[in-house]
Symmetry: C3
Subunit: 118 residues, 3 copies
């Protein structure tokens, strides 16, 4: 067995990669419609499923990078984020406004590292 | 004891997270006023304190991502950065200009990974 | 011997840093001229050399962050990327459009983490 475990691997990307007890994962909104809160909620729900599938979980995040396309969404995204992260387990977090994400409808994208295992 | 050590944990983020001998840390300027050099100097001083608290140090950086809001600040930020990093220990570094950071006054933000221990 | 191995270390950055079986590496186009495909091809060729030098390889990527300065280059960059990544080994990948990179001619920059060893 390889020392790298991947899931959802296409020509371009994997849904997650595990190595050395750390899972790397990037998630985008499953639907490019809807406001920032809606997109963030669906994106984090999808991220949570991937983390569980990887043997990790949303309470084991180490680092998160949030890319927004409009910092005016900051409060809406944070409200969803704050409610989603289990109390006492918040990761380090960078949050920046970029010009655009790959899909012009996406208002948010997140890249994380999390610890695998209990 | 958990295999993840966090410090400064709020509902939203932690000041740093340690796992597997690596510390993750994101730092912003403690004061949104002042020019880029002033903000960078204060931000890196704060980052240095966090790294030491985490059992790491500025000479043990592995990767740094610098987010600027104006690439016109590049030389000013670099002058502070170059003097701050111990000679021979510079990490990998990405430096990009984003549209905005969470506080409209911030001119710089940094995300790092560093090795813990001596 | 240190537990951190660096290469190409200047006052400002290293070409790569290895720690705990993971190599961190940031690469930019060696030449700021040319279209996005040309820049991406040269950048990824250079990244590949660094990864091999680090005892890793392009088939062992864990995470890649692609910074573009024009999302209009997305298809051109992806065509090069998709052909470059060995089938079945694609890493997690974030791709965002930023305002500018350090050199105004650069259309792309990439930061990666990869597993060292076979």
């Amino acid at each position: 067995m390889s020392d790298i475990q991947r899931a959802g691997t296409t020509r371009r990307y994997s849904d997650f990669c595990i190595h050395n007890g750390v899972v790397h994962c990037v998630e985008v909104p499953p639907d490019a419609h809807g406001d920032a809160a809606t997109q963030t909620r669906a994106m984090l729900a999808s991220l949570e499923r991937l983390l569980v599938q990887a043997g990790s979980g949303k309470g084991r995040l180490l680092m998160a990078t949030l890319y927004l396309t409009d910092m005016g969404d900051y409060d809406a995204v944070n409200a969803v984020w704050d409610a989603w992260v289990p109390a006492g387990t918040a990761p380090c977090r960078a949050c920046v406004q970029v010009v655009r994400l790959a899909d012009p409808g996406w208002r948010v994208e997140v890249a994380v590292q999390a610890a695998v295992g209990a």
